[in-house]
């Protein structure tokens, strides 16, 4: 398929090396890639596979300690080692890029109109006011509403999806030959994700540029790419048409990636199972504005009258996009933030419990966070981190007993007990999440609230963490509230699903019912965006 098309970027034996205090690290180990005119090539791999660094190397965008070797010829012109002046004639004009981080990839100090105009003025000449007409046209093209007004907006005045549209407008400004999209939708909500990918697709059909889609998300690949290159640890393990890769994968790694989509189901707990944690009419308000000379104070209702009943052994999945109030709800249920409503833990009414009244209950109510990098103190050893709760809840334990408990907990999360003498930075994301889970279960809790515990992890690692959480639930009879924006993970983990939007429950029900026959429009939109992409 498409083999008759002309190869416009030929990458041969490309190597990217980083100089680090521990010696040289080869991020890309001599890869070959061909990009043909007008095609969509997906470069797929997990974090650390070198998929982004390959493109950064070709575009001369490596960090200061990185260097590139080998060859990357764009229509016969060698890009590797090209002097900056000549390279600057290619990048931004013939080859353009959009990045993963729409929130930070635009300069916060200039209007978006000026930023889109910059490469136009640079590569085509003319003045900024002459470029304005073209900028308006581009904004229209990428679906920014009311471009005449938005052209003078600053990035912080726009949403993530809109900023990514602005980046796309910038990428299209000079009619490029190749558009490199580096994880263009990873930082966006699923519904926005689908819109951005559709936009890229239709623009490609219209203008016929080649698109290099760098992603870890196989769902996106299947839907949008014509060819796929699978990368692992700096090497291309397999290349082929999308159909071949998905239906007849050759490399073991590709097979593993395809199988790593979360699978399995959870059965509902028995009807008679006791209720562990209940929140009735849970509402959380945040004050906005205010201050001595500030604007008029207002109230933002983050969670609005939500009811939750968590039974023993149950997993309730709470799903929603960013800003839906799902994390806030989790914190309110644990009485960690001021909130109104009625709360019951087991037989105890905890509605009016303050900090000190809650403290003895805390060991039974634990919380695991999304960010395995930010939620572990970098200055404590793993042993200190996971035993910290024991000082509060079981102060009578001797040092040796605490150590014994730490060993048990680490074994339970399938980490080497020797890990307790090391520091968090020595561990990978998945291992750190295991440490965070060990910190929660060492206290032998009844209820654990898991706030996006797998969202920062690669798919293959995600699957392992999900398996671990399931096993722990069985062994200890835990009840989970599982908060996530990722429907496939929710589907695999929970027996009951609550869909939230703008602080309210849109729909709830047993997992099968929600996934097979969603009643509400919003749930259907979410499903479509997540599973057809």
């Amino acid at each position: 398929m498409n083999d008759s098309r002309e190869t416009i970027l030929a990458v041969r034996d490309l190597k990217v090396t980083f100089t680090t205090p521990d010696g040289d690290v080869q991020a890309v180990k001599g890869i070959d890639l061909d990009i043909k005119a007008g095609e969509t090539l997906a470069v797929v791999g997990e974090s650390g596979s070198g998929k982004s660094q390959t493109m950064m190397g070709i575009m001369g965008l490596l960090a200061g300690n990185g260097r590139v070797a080998g060859s990357a010829k764009y229509r016969g012109q060698e890009l590797v080692g090209l002097p900056l002046k000549a390279l600057n004639k290619v990048r931004g004009a013939k080859i353009t890029m959009i990045f993963q981080e729409p929130m930070t990839s635009l300069d916060p100090l200039y209007t978006i109109g000026r930023q889109i105009a910059e490469p136009i003025v640079q590569h085509r000449g003319g003045t900024f006011s002459q470029a304005r007409a073209r900028v308006l046209e581009l904004l229209e093209l990428v679906g920014i509403p009311d471009p005449k007004r938005r052209i003078d907006s600053y990035p912080h005045e726009m949403s993530g999806g809109q900023r990514q549209r602005v980046m796309i407008a910038m990428a299209l400004a000079n009619d490029p030959d190749i558009l490199i999209a580096d994880e263009p939708t990873t930082a966006l909500d699923v519904t926005i994700q689908a819109q951005i990918l559709d936009l890229l697709n239709s623009l490609q059909a219209k203008f016929g540029m080649a698109v290099v889609l760098i992603t870890h998300d196989l769902g996106i690949v299947k839907h949008f790419a014509s060819r796929v290159a699978v990368m692992r640890r700096g090497e291309v393990v397999e290349t082929g048409t999308t159909a071949d890769i998905f239906e007849r994968p050759q490399a073991d790694y590709t097979k593993m990636l395809l199988a790593a989509e979360p699978h399995g189901r959870k059965a509902s707990p028995a009807e008679t199972a006791p209720v562990m944690l209940e929140g009735r009419n849970v509402s959380v308000d945040y004050a906005t504005g205010g201050g001595l000379f500030g604007k008029k104070a207002g109230v933002f209702r983050a969670v609005d009258g939500v009811n939750i009943r968590l039974k023993e052994g149950q997993t309730i999945g709470i799903v929603g996009e960013s800003g839906s109030g799902k994390s806030t709800l989790g914190r309110a249920l644990l009485r960690l933030i001021p909130s109104s409503g009625r709360y019951q833990f087991g037989a105890t009414n905890i509605s009016d419990f303050g900090r000190s009244a809650m403290r003895p209950l805390r060991r039974q109510l634990q919380l695991v966070f999304q960010d395995p990098y930010g939620s572990l103190s970098p200055r404590q050893t793993v042993g200190e981190i996971i035993t910290e709760g024991l000082y509060v809840h079981e102060p009578q334990l001797s040092r040796a007993e605490r150590d014994k408990r730490a060993i048990e907990a680490l074994k339970e999360v399938r980490l080497d007990p020797a890990a307790r003498n090391r520091y968090p930075h020595e561990f990978s994301g998945g291992q750190r999440q295991r440490i965070a889970i060990a910190r929660a279960i060492i206290l032998k809790p009844k209820v654990v609230i898991l706030d996006e515990p797998t969202s920062a992890l690669d798919r293959s690692v995600q699957g392992q963490v999900i398996d671990l959480l399931r096993d722990l639930q069985k062994t200890h009879g835990l009840s989970y509230i599982f908060i996530s924006h990722d429907l496939s993970v929710i589907k695999a983990m929970s027996d009951y699903v609550v869909v939230m939007k703008n602080g309210k429950v849109v729909e709830e029900g047993d997992t099968d019912a929600i996934f097979e026959a969603p009643r509400e429009n919003y749930t259907q939109t979410l499903m479509n965006a997540a599973f057809t992409a």
């Binding site: 575009m59 001369g60 965008l61 200061g64 900056l84 002046k85 390279l87 600057n88 004639k89 290619v90 990048r91 931004g92 004009a93 353009t96 890029m97 990045f99 981080e101 930070t104 990839s105 635009l106 300069d107 916060p108 100090l109 200039y110 910059e118 490469p119 640079q122 590569h123 600053y154 912080h156 980046m167 910038m170 000379f293």
Partner: protein
């Protein structure tokens, strides 16, 4: 914008009031008084002096009348420079201090930003190391050392420049005190600029600018520099207030007739009114420059713009 300025000016009133109140009582609690000389005055003379200046009245009534007069712009007579009011002394000295301070501020700001930018662009090179070492010296060596050394080298040994005094106010006279005054601030500006510039050069939007083929000069000046100036601008307010209100040390070493000396001399002599006058002066400068800097900051950064 106008309402922002008005709000800030309104909030300056309680600030000034608190500053004046605290310094008034602190000053009075310090032992001694303006007329406690080495050779004690006869009791009768002392009593007369105290009565003339109302120092024999209870403290609270002195405080009330000071505040009452200050509100009307009357900061009273100096107790030590008896022929002058505080307002006259400050009015005479301030133009000298401000002119010298203004040049020193320009030197510190532009020199510091330039040095810091060069150091950041050549991070970890010999040049970076040199600039940072010199700026460490600039911060750590006090200007009562820098001043005399400059005089020794450039005025006495080389005879290139005059050793002191305002002279005819021409630049020749101002160069050495200006350098002595600017050096510590220049070093701070250089360090601030280097740090924020290095940070700015590593942001995602700088990567975007490079990915779109913008030349290095545009990337650095248009995109990195503007972001890097934000912390520098924040420091501008205290630096400007400090430099423009003069320095006791530099003005003494170079015999400049500015106001910087009055703060120290006033404090040593227990010249209550003179100290209070300089306190009010410095407080006003700090408030005004903070306001100016906040406005400037809003112009640089649309995210904090005051509408």
């Amino acid at each position: 914008m106008i309402s922002f300025v008005l709000r800030r000016l309104a909030s300056a009133v309680p600030t000034l009031f608190i500053v004046v109140t605290i310094s008034f009582f602190l000053m009075r609690f310090a032992p001694g008084g303006p007329f406690n000389l080495e050779r004690p005055l006869p009791p009768q003379t002392m009593a007369n002096l105290m009565a003339t200046y109302h120092l024999d009245q209870p403290l609270w009534s002195q405080y009330v009348s000071y505040i009452g007069n200050a509100v009307r712009g009357d900061f009273g007579p100096s107790y030590v420079y008896k022929d002058n009011t505080v307002a006259e002394l400050i009015g005479k000295g301030l133009p000298y201090s401000m002119e010298l301070g203004f040049y020193a501020l320009l030197l510190a700001l532009f020199g510091g930003v330039l040095a810091g930018t060069i150091a950041a662009l050549r991070q970890n090179s010999a040049l970076d190391f040199l600039i940072m070492s010199v700026s460490t010296v600039g911060v750590t060596v006090p200007n009562f050392v820098v001043g005399p050394v400059l005089t020794l080298v450039f005025a006495i040994t080389l005879s290139w420049l005059p050793a002191g005094s305002w002279g005819d106010g021409s630049l020749r006279f101002l160069i050495l005190p200006m350098i002595a005054l600017a050096l510590p601030q220049l070093a701070v500006f250089a360090r601030l600029t280097r740090g924020s510039m290095i940070e700015a050069l590593h942001t995602d939007h700088i990567r975007t600018a490079r990915a779109y083929g913008l030349p290095a000069r545009t990337v650095v000046i248009t995109h990195a520099m503007r972001a890097a100036m934000l912390p520098v601008v924040s420091y501008l307010a205290p630096a400007a207030a400090a430099l423009l209100t003069g320095s006791a040390v530099v003005e003494t070493i170079f015999t400049i007739p500015g106001v910087g000396r009055y703060f120290v001399l006033g404090a040593i002599n227990r010249d209550y009114t003179l100290v209070m006058g300089t306190v009010v002066l410095i407080a006003i400068f700090v408030i005004v420059f903070n306001l100016l800097v906040d406005i400037l900051y809003g112009l640089l950064d649309p995210r904090v713009r005051h509408d």
